[in-house]
Symmetry: C2
């Protein structure tokens, strides 16, 4: 639209030069104003909220951070505003990466680095984030468009490249080590790398970069049938790296592209969040590093981690000591504004809870405690019944069969 508006302004200027009638000239000036208004409206559609200098906890409808700063008041985080100091790199702006980017943007993260080489397609519309009018744009450009509209406070850097190429990897590494945003970090210029890619080759590349940079990262994946997935936290030297326990297809050296079949695509859903949805099951496990890992940088990090053990132990001991001291000074729950107290399970029976002083004045349990509920005798008779209690008894008898 910018091009059309520019051409329109040029035409108006040409016309103005060849015209002398005062009323016609007035008309042209009026049209000029309309075109400028359209340009302003068009622009305001893309950046609509102004930047916010300080995150305020003020509870007003116009404060985009009030519900986030409330996390600090409620003791969930110590200093919410520190989020502005953090940089997160997201590799792969697909179904997982785009939503992670949007969440971090709405939370007010300091800086996001986005990597993808793909374009938005209508086939991506079954996942959140991208909109049909963005079809044909690169995923990085479309993401920057949407994210900068949502929160202009976030510093966005986008890299339209494939990290598995030699050139792409070089740019990936130099962008991760660029410390212009914050200078307190040692090896890397970012605080976290999120791997949100859809193939093993790219995961191995992220693994390589993070092992070299001693960079903590998270790996994610969605199963081909869209109803399960995984999330993995990788801390170089401390946990297994992606090459320590490689997927079978990687270990066997098979080119994963040969496994894809013509005319077949993986399923995906907007809901898939990384667990077995059909079984409502989210297993967790810890994986120690493999001392025979094929990745040299991983072996280096393992060595450093082991050598740093005395320092870690001393820090842990100091923390435990200081916490023990603070507990001794401040007894837990002696008196608090929420009237919450810890009661030993053994000391509680239904009658005690109902009649004890645990509930605020004027509030009583309307329903008896489950244990107190009169046990109904099991009856074998099934016949016409009009009383709900009778029906309930019959159902229980049938279920007991």
């Amino acid at each position: 639209m910018e091009v059309e508006l520019k051409e329109l302004l040029n035409d108006l200027q040409s016309l103005k030069k060849s015209i002398s009638d005062p009323s016609d000239l007035a008309l042209i000036d009026k049209m000029h104003l309309h075109v400028e208004n359209i340009a302003t409206l068009e622009k305001s559609g893309t950046t609509c909220r102004s930047k916010v200098k300080d995150m305020s906890a003020e509870v007003v409808d116009s404060n985009p951070y009030s519900r986030l700063m409330a996390l600090q008041r409620m003791g969930i985080v110590d200093n919410y505003e520190r989020i502005r100091e953090f940089s997160v790199a997201i590799v792969g702006i697909g179904g997982v990466g785009s939503v992670a980017a949007e969440m971090l943007t709405r939370c007010g993260i300091g800086r996001l680095l986005l990597y993808d080489y793909d374009k938005v397609e209508l086939a991506n519309m079954n996942r959140l984030f991208f909109r049909p009018e963005q079809v044909g744009m690169t995923k990085t450009d479309a993401a920057v468009q949407t994210l900068s509209e949502i929160n202009p406070d976030v510093v966005l850097e986008s890299y339209t490249l494939n990290i598995t190429t030699v050139e792409g990897f070089d740019t990936f590494m130099s962008s991760l080590t660029n410390k212009s945003f914050r200078t307190t970090k040692s090896d890397s210029g970012v605080d976290l790398v999120l791997s949100c890619v859809d193939n093993y080759e790219a995961r191995m590349v992220v693994n390589q970069a993070c092992n070299e940079l001693n960079q903590t990262w998270m790996e994610s994946g969605v199963s081909e049938d869209a109803v399960s997935g995984h999330i993995q936290l990788l801390i170089p030297g401390e946990t297994a790296c992606f090459a320590c326990v490689p997927p079978l297809v990687v270990a066997s050296g098979i080119d994963e592209r040969t496994l894809k079949r013509e005319g077949v695509c993986a399923a995906s859903l907007p809901t898939t969040m990384g667990y077995n949805a059909l079984k409502d099951y989210f297993p967790t496990m810890e994986m120690k590093p493999n001392s025979q890992c094929s990745n040299t940088a991983c072996l280096e990090r393992q060595k450093e981690y082991i050598l740093a053990k005395p320092t870690r132990d001393a820090a842990a001991k100091a923390k435990a000591d200081s916490e023990a001291l603070s507990v001794a000074e401040n007894p837990v729950h002696a008196d608090n504004e929420w009237n919450i107290s810890v009661v030993d399970d053994d000391e509680v029976d239904g009658a005690d809870v109902r009649n004890s002083g645990v509930l605020p004045e004027g509030i009583v349990h309307e329903l008896p405690v489950a244990d107190e509920y009169p046990k109904q005798p099991i009856t074998e008779a099934v016949g016409p019944a009009d009383d709900l209690e009778e029906l309930r008894r019959q159902l229980e008898a049938l279920n007991a069969d």
Copy 2:
């Protein structure tokens, strides 16, 4: 912008009438074309993809349903396209309701009914979905704008009203019972109601409506500190209704509005999905209906559920019988294209797995099985070490202390 474009066209026509020079007239025609292009671009920004008549499984980038139809090919759903027959009502278009609406829209749900009386504020920008340029719009209007852009195939109905008022409740009930979209249902005109509200009064109203209509619904909520939440499935008569085990504040008859403190708002996060995030814990439980529930409609549904037990039992038996028959006819895993077979745990030891024919030809395990790994003797000596194995042994020795 529409107004500005219209004025611009009017001005161009006036100018054309008062001008005779052919080159000026040509310029005016050219400008006319630019204005029309701008109008088209502006319009295409709001509805960009055309409607899709049939959901196709064709694997092309321009098919918005290919990744969803893949669920059918992979055996996750029997007939994906049936989603177009379903209606879902969402009460409360806030942080939970808006995302549920977007997910259902992207999945291609048949019809969505949206209820909210609130307006979009900048303070809502910490949750997904709404954009800063929608501030000031009603949440229903903003949702319809975004959702119709994302998927024009979905029938959207929006109701800007408060369901807890007498008038609002009447409209709520009549919209739920309207069967114009699909006529096979008995009491209700929708398949599912999602309660995504932020107060108990509204939850009790949804409960009342669903008990009266014998309508299955889901209740959701996020804790005040944003790091835990709950989801509850309510099937009238079969599970506890919201009044069967009322929250303390409801049971005690306290006006919840008196509990809110001046200048204090609840925290919220874009990530909160209904579990205890800090403890990574998602407890589940079943709640049977309370035969002494204060809700008369709930008692009616309980009675119907008990009376229908013989029918349910017969259906369950018929299903079990037919499944047993199909298992007998088709032995599981006799031979399948994935080369997956079920092996009894007892029959497996490390060597067997590595040398057996379970792995495809050419693939061998690079790492030994955990049980086979040589156990290291625990050593007390800690000294300079340059070999990773030695360091690892020392770490283990230290950890064993």
